[in-house]
């Protein structure tokens, strides 16, 4: 199979003053069209792309899925998705460190969200800025990988405060690093009483059955029935 060329769109910075209101509006639009929009955030290199592939392999029989790949530059991840047979569009943020609701809307239009059940946004790799902008997603998933350290919720509180679900990735490398899972969960709890925490390995697939089941359950609840 010859490699498809990634579709690349350059989103424009929103001129709207009230992103929160626009995000609420977008959430309503997506509820009406029955599309569950999942915002995946993490540092660079925590394993967003490979985690998304693990999730999709468990949900693709159930949902029509698309992936929005947001990056400052490049198209590495979109190529990975297309090679895996996953509908995907590359979003270039023009140097910006985050996506807001209107940038989401431009991207959802481009990928054709009305014909999809689940759209996953791989946000810009960054534990700071993306947490400050509501994308209009129905749920926020945050990934923290073992090599990054169990103290990160203390340093990047807003990201963990906003998370509906947290994946601790690269648990296959636990032995090589000084990472305390209980301490990490405790640090998350300081900021967030409700978020589910799943220990996973995007390398081996461990833990993704549970994580994907959580996402399916949240999607079904949001959509309230089939399209």
């Amino acid at each position: 199979m010859s490699e498809r060329d990634p579709r690349i769109i350059k989103v424009k910075e929103s001129i709207l003053e009230d992103n929160d209101a626009d995000a609420e509006k977008l959430r309503g639009e997506l509820r009406d069209e029955k599309t569950f929009y999942l915002n995946v955030m993490s540092s660079p290199g925590s394993g967003k792309t490979s985690s998304i592939l693990q999730i999709i392999s468990r949900l693709r029989d159930k949902y029509r899925i698309g992936v929005l790949e947001a990056d400052i530059d490049g198209d590495v991840d979109t190529r990975t998705m297309l090679n895996a047979g996953v509908e995907s569009v590359q979003i270039h943020t023009g140097g910006m460190c985050h996506l807001d609701a209107d940038m989401s809307r431009q991207s959802l239009r481009e990928i054709g969200s009305a014909d999809l059940d689940l759209v996953i946004l791989e946000n810009v790799g960054n534990l700071v800025c993306p947490a400050e902008f509501d994308t209009g997603a129905a749920a926020d998933l945050v990934i923290l990988s073992v090599p990054e350290g169990d103290d990160k919720p203390l340093k990047y509180p807003l990201m963990f405060e906003k998370a509906d679900v947290v994946l601790v990735n690269k648990i296959d490398a636990l032995e090589a690093f000084d990472f305390d899972m209980d301490k990490f969960t405790e640090n998350v709890r300081l900021r967030n009483a409700a978020a589910e925490v799943f220990a996973v390995s995007a390398e081996t697939g461990e833990g993704f059955d549970d994580a994907a089941a959580w996402i399916a359950s949240a999607a079904d609840e949001f959509l309230g029935g089939a399209k």
Copy 2:
């Protein structure tokens, strides 16, 4: 020894329109007072704090050293520095994802840079925003750790474009990850023909003799003689 309480300062966002001009001004001020200001940037969890400790252990006989720890919240790293007997001040950025020149100046005043030869700034963990703001530092050091992947210069080009020196950290974990050092260096070279690249392990100390020697040489060149 009882633990010292970290000094925490809250820096204010600069109202200056031209941060680049202010950064040049600050660089001149620091040259006059003979202080080498080194800006250390990376993602969260790449090993900034432990790398800085490795560097300091090799340079503390030669220079009077202070460390500025910039974070959104928390004081974990400043406590680590103080426990290691290193002069350190915690900077809270009030949610901001970067430090600019004026925020640097406020922090340098607080730590008393005029009485120090080398001040190391541990910038906010973030591969995007800190690259966009000149801090007034004499040199920019970027750390990328092996678990983050060798493709990161393609996705976060500005950070690698700005680097004077790049450390590839956690090389002790090379076997556990699919990281190609030649490919990484090639990806850096696409953006930056000049930056030195050192492979290091902040865990074992490997590679830090060379990295510290590079910093000492850059500092001596900048300062042009003793204080």
